[in-house]
Subunit: 414 residues, 2 copies
């Protein structure tokens, strides 16, 4: 089935707003093995929209249109869809009632403009939007099925997952229940992860699970996109595969699904508290920890200085050279002065030369003593900074979970 | 002149790589008043590319193609361009020599695959790439002029600005020298800035300067896109307008062009040093300061805690409630304990209720004493956090530059 994505709106066309919706729709289609064949962007322009609809209909069987369902005069999707389908616009009474109820609940009168959002091409298939005033709909234009979705990202995402992808899978006579299982790892590159997971798709029935990767340095996201006839079947397929991914990627998995590494660290702390000392990462580690739930009580103190002596002074210790021992000393000093149960120190020495890399010394102090580790990352300053923050949080995670703190990561050079 | 942008590549089509090139090209075209009419995305697929070229040629006079100029077999732009233009591919000897020299300079042999990058459609106009191995070129297909650019963002950006936009402006018989002057402000929204700068375009000859805005909360970017026959003419047009923008936006301008607010703060410090205490912004302010040039010596210490008593303890003062006075006390304590010449404290009290907003108390301490200020921002937690970090840096900038620290910003609610 050839599927196209058609994004509308002047803000998107002119680059004023970054079009994140396109990438999201495309990735979701690829994840459920539907794929995407073509992308088009046009402005809020009647002739351009009409041409775009007709040309897409000639190339594809399915077109997902995003945007242009708002209440203002430059929102043209319904009108142009009706024109292209050769039908009039008609009022969709149930949606008008829903919008009126939506406003009534908020004790506001519905602006008259919103009525426009309930005008759909005659004979269109209604597609629910449980969280906004722009309903979706589907019509057939020149033999291709067009699905119209709102431009607001969270409304579009929900409609895509709950309403449109199931319809497309049903259209193909395929399993209708899908799930995307995600693992976040640190320390292995995409090609090594691919090797480590070789043959894993064969654990499931043919085409039931698709393995994919997305690298967001320093993390790698490993995705299992599964589908089955029902939820029980989905569970039965995914459970052993998830266990196998965990076994093969092992300690490198730092989080799963919506978890974050920093969230896992805060949770592993339990009733403990944490203090962090940083140099080049300059608050980057603290910034990640301090936002998580429970951070108010668990994240006790963060200290930042670019100068090592300054950092030591702020932690009550005298250190002069960046070494694993100095990192352990700073962590121990900070633990003492802050009264936290755990302290992490991440010291970075940038190497001479243009974007050469950096040497990273990590120390963790807790009630049982200190551990330290050293790593060298090659790359520019930003690369080293991001890698050092990740290494720091990962060393802490490993210490808290009783895993070996030293395990070579792919980005390291010795 | 109708201009289209055509982006190629499987990674872009499937959303695996976010397509930042599209937005950049579109914005630059709009800035020089050329505009953009249509965007297309296709994969590394010969029939799709050929169709895309033909359909774009039928709709537009100019098509900017991005990507597909690499050395591998899935890079198809030259081949499909030649096919669409009905000409053979021929070796561009000077580019082959340039690539060989490029590799020789790095003491590496040129991989044989790279030869492919010097094969251009017969009769194509060569477009230089001074920083990479993918040269650009232009050909005419079905009456439309196609400009081919590399997918590597910095190579594409330079080629667009230095080679392609001047050609397009010349094609329209328009002034060929362009400049984009940018002002970064904090505290005024787009519509207010638009009002404040009303009529400013009339200071220049008709159509010589285009005023534009781009909001990246919490900052607003104000852009003057100017063009003239030569550099002297450009200066003559822009100088009085720049002065007028500075006069009208006044103290709200925090930086210009490639400057950043944090860079301006570090520079204004001169030989002074800085320490920062943060709560909800949790290292976000330190993270911005610590990366700037000169931060090694000027940024002395950052302290982060979510708990106010903890933050006070780390700065050597006892504080219990978030007030402007407490912020001044923390700043003074931190200045004292760190030995820095200047200290900033940014305390944030999130308000009760779902995403209600936050009250922000700011204090700056220097050799002359302390100043403080309070602000209330409405919005969710991230919005408050970003706004608080900006307010903190801006208060410090104002103090360092001798400007009033208290001037109402548009995001504030009282």
């Amino acid at each position: 089935m050839r599927i196209e994505i058609l994004c509308t709106g002047d803000e998107i066309l002119t680059g004023k707003t970054v079009n994140t919706n396109y990438g999201h729709i495309a990735r979701r289609l690829v994840e459920v093995d539907l794929g995407v064949h073509w992308g088009t962007t046009v402005g809020d322009d009647r002739p351009a929209l009409l041409t775009a609809f007709r040309q897409a209909a000639a190339r594809a069987e399915v077109v997902i249109v995003n945007g242009g369902l708002g209440p203002t005069v430059d929102d043209l999707s319904q009108e142009v869809a009706a024109e292209a389908a050769g039908v009039p616009l008609v009022l969709h009474e149930p949606w008008l009632a829903r919008m009126e109820a939506f406003y009534a609940k908020r004790n506001r009168p519905m602006p008259p403009n919103n009525r426009k959002q309930a005008m759909l091409p005659d004979g269109a298939e209604f597609i629910d939007n449980p969280i906004g005033t722009a309903c979706g709909f589907a019509v057939t234009i020149d033999g291709a099925r067009f699905y119209f979705t709102p431009g607001v990202p969270r409304e579009m995402r929900r409609m895509l997952d709950e309403q449109i992808i199931p319809r497309l899978l049903a259209k193909e006579g395929r399993a209708r229940v899908t799930r995307l299982k995600r693992f976040h790892s640190f320390g292995i590159g995409e090609s090594r992860a691919d090797d480590m997971l070789a043959g894993i798709e064969a654990m499931a029935p043919a085409n039931a699970v698709k393995l994919g990767f997305q690298a967001h340095y320093p993390q790698l996201e490993t995705k299992l996109a599964a589908r089955a006839a029902d939820t029980a079947g989905l569970e039965a397929i995914l459970a052993p595969m998830e266990a196998e991914v965990r076994r093969r990627l092992g300690n490198f998995i730092v989080a799963e699904d919506d978890q974050t590494l920093e969230g896992v660290v805060l949770e592993a702390l339990g009733s403990g508290t944490l203090a962090v000392a940083e140099t080049l990462t300059g608050g980057g580690i603290a910034a990640r920890l301090v936002q998580g739930p429970g951070a108010e009580t668990r994240f006790r103190r963060g200290v930042v200085a670019r100068d090592l002596a300054q950092l030591g002074a702020a932690c009550g210790v005298a250190v002069a050279v960046i070494t694993p021992e100095a990192a352990a000393q700073v962590a121990a000093g900070l633990r003492e002065s802050s009264g936290a149960s755990h302290a992490l120190a991440v010291l970075v020495a940038l190497e001479e030369g243009n974007d050469a890399g950096g040497r990273i010394c990590l120390g963790v102090a807790d009630a049982t003593g200190t551990v330290s580790r050293e790593a060298r990352l090659i790359g520019n300053r930003d690369w080293v900074r991001l890698g050092a923050a990740e290494l720091g949080l990962d060393v802490l995670r490993r210490r808290l979970l009783g895993l070996p703190v030293e395990e070579r990561v792919d980005f390291e050079r010795r």
